[in-house]
């Protein structure tokens, strides 16, 4: 990252604030939804990472959690939901069906949601254990901390 001491420090403070207050939108379709519910509830808590409060609207969230199989019928809906989110936004592909189509290689299933939207973290597993989900969340938090943050008065380089 280029910039002087103040901008890099501000960058890291903004990254710290953003990573511990991720509002996620669970785009739940299939079996992985059950493991998502387990990961969000009392035994394996998502709330202690700051990502517990589920925002049920894409316009109010900054992380899209695509859980389960995405079919060809559902792909335009996923794209619309992704476009409705405001910057900065991150996407986690949860489960093998979202990562690469899973065990379903047929006429009806999109072979991985990175055919439709860009993805930041991939979680394999069918369904993944909740500990894997928490590990993926920590990796996403590292990514959020280390990437170049966007803030309103920053000059864009055109």
């Amino acid at each position: 990252m280029e910039g002087n001491f103040i901008t890099t420090k501000f960058n890291s403070i903004l990254g710290w604030a953003r990573k511990f207050s991720l509002f996620h939108y669970p785009f739940v379709t299939a079996c992985c939804g059950m493991e998502y519910m387990s990961a969000a509830c009392a035994h394996f808590d998502l709330d202690r990472f700051g990502a517990g409060w589920t925002r049920f609207s894409p316009r109010q969230s900054d992380m899209l959690l695509v859980v389960g199989t995405v079919t060809q019928k559902l792909a335009p809906v996923l794209k619309t939901v992704y476009d409705q989110m405001t910057e900065p936004k991150w996407v986690i592909a949860f489960g093998t069906c979202a990562v690469s189509g899973g065990i379903y290689d047929n006429y009806a299933v999109v072979q991985g949601i990175d055919c439709v939207i860009p993805v930041d973290v991939y979680i394999p597993g069918c369904p993944p254990r909740p500990e894997t989900v928490l590990d993926a969340l920590i990796k996403l938090q590292e990514k959020v901390q280390n990437q170049e943050q966007e803030w309103r008065w920053k000059r864009r380089k055109y």
């Binding site: 785009f27 739940v28 379709t29 299939a30 079996c31 939804g33 059950m34 493991e35 519910m37 387990s38 509830c41 009392a42 035994h43 589920t54 049920f56 389960g68 199989t69 079919t71 019928k73 559902l74 809906v77 996923l78 939901v81 065990i103 379903y104 290689d105 047929n106 006429y107 009806a108 299933v109 069918c126 369904p127 254990r129």
Partner: protein, 428 residues
């Protein structure tokens, strides 16, 4: 005014689209669109062998995966004419009742959360974790297990399973008691669910309803009592019925069924026949066993890898049918004798393996939502020619348009929640 409750919505059941035509808040007409999770299960299964498609059946009704496994495997066993050892039958009953409890817990937790009772959701998820711990202890996976195999079950219980199972039952009973206290006489919950979305009994039969939704209208039909399978005719349990067929009755029938399932598990734990004592002693590893058995069988017992624990040769006869045409031989035989190796190889080779006689068969079990049936057409080869699933929630959800007509928008949520729509089963 047209309102679209789109495919991606906060109701934690699955992707379904409900388009409503409103006049203020009253619903005049509605249209339900399904198919957003159509994963091509039936066509994919035509390309796989009978044994290979077990994991696909797990992912149908994913909140009670062991019951789907059971339905498919019992259909095939009806076609092949296999007898299951008694201990395996008791294990199957315990596992499917645990799955049923987990199904009802998830359904009611989601329904309560959408009505606003978030605490109930957290309590029930806690109980579900205890049950999933027991399932994981036995089968190796929390959810999609592929545990119930053709001929029996994959592995036996751990020698001291009764402790963890008793603890899970006690925790679930405590949670159910708490939830009864929170919701049964709660004025808000009663206002939202009492006398909402009534369904009379004759119409429910015409819509093809089965399971808890049909029993809430007062019709006594449970596949476990009508066509008893496994050892259900030796276990004493009641079938709770509702009166009016409204949302509250559907909730209450499910709560009472969970209590009956706990009763069944306790009885099965007492009646289960003993197995031969498993020897957990030192042995030799499979690789060494293969090397040592080139000339003759090794004298020492071979030690299997930890994830094959439970399927040792001593217990194998109690958990699997000994018919070698349809059942994989125990791993000790595979690694040390040539007959076992050939048997194992021919089982998995393409073109050989399980080849049922030509014909078709239909068999159904009591799933979490109702009568879960499989219709298999076989043409004598090792792939099914046609596999069709009779999904219970398909028929229940097809009546949704009729149930919400004339009601408020806010009534859609508890109605939809009490129907227990599972996307994997609805859309296959």
């Amino acid at each position: 005014m047209l309102l679209n409750m789109g495919p991606s919505h906060p109701a934690m059941h699955g992707t379904i689209r409900i388009m409503l035509e409103l006049d203020g808040e009253r619903i005049l007409n509605s249209e339900v669109e399904v198919g957003y999770l159509h994963r091509g299960f039936e066509k994919t299964c035509e390309q796989r062998t009978f044994f290979n498609l077990l994991p696909y059946t797990d992912r149908l009704n994913y909140v009670s995966p062991l019951i789907n496994n059971l339905a498919y495997v019992m259909t095939l066993e009806k076609m092949l004419g296999l007898e299951i050892p008694e201990r395996a039958q008791y294990i199957r009953v315990i596992m499917s009742e645990l799955s049923r409890i987990s199904d009802h817990l998830t359904c009611l937790a989601a329904m309560a959360m959408e009505c606003g009772a978030f605490t109930v959701f957290l309590y029930k998820m806690k109980a579900r974790e205890f049950i999933w711990d027991v399932i994981e202890y036995t089968t190796g996976a929390r959810m999609t297990t592929s545990y119930i195999r053709i001929g029996g079950v994959r592995a036996d219980f751990h020698p001291d399973y009764q402790e963890s199972l008793t603890k899970a039952i006690a925790e679930t009973r405590k949670v159910l008691q708490d939830v009864h206290g929170l919701l049964d006489k709660n004025k808000i919950f009663l206002n939202r669910t009492r006398d909402v979305a009534l369904m009379p009994a004759e119409e429910a039969l015409s819509w093809g309803w089965t399971g808890p939704c049909l029993r809430s209208t007062g019709v006594y039909y449970d596949v476990r009592k009508a066509h008893p399978y496994l050892v259900y005719d030796r276990l004493a349990f009641e079938v709770p019925l509702g009166e009016r067929g409204d949302n509250f009755d559907r909730y209450m029938v499910r709560m009472k069924e969970m209590e009956q399932s706990l009763r069944i598990i306790e009885q099965a734990m007492k009646k289960i026949p003993e197995t031969s004592h498993r020897v957990m002693s030192e042995g030799i590893e499979p690789v060494q066993a293969i090397k040592a058995s080139r000339r003759k069988k090794p004298k020492e017992r071979i030690e299997l890898s930890p994830n094959l624990e439970g399927s040792e040769k001593e217990v194998y006869k109690d958990i699997m049918n000994p018919d070698r045409r349809f059942v994989v031989p125990p791993k000790e035989d595979t690694y040390t004798s040539i007959e076992g190796l050939i048997n194992h190889f021919k089982f998995f080779m393409k073109g050989h393996g399980i080849r049922p006689p030509q014909g078709e068969v239909y068999f159904s079990v009591e799933g979490g939502n109702g009568e879960l049936g499989f219709y298999i057409v076989s043409d004598g080869t090792d792939n099914p020619y046609r596999l069709h699933l009779r999904a219970p929630c398909f028929h229940v959800v097809s009546a949704l348009e009729r149930l919400i007509k004339g009601r408020y928008v806010a009534d859609v949520i508890p109605t939809f929640g009490s129907m227990n729509m599972i996307g994997g089963e609805l859309d296959r």
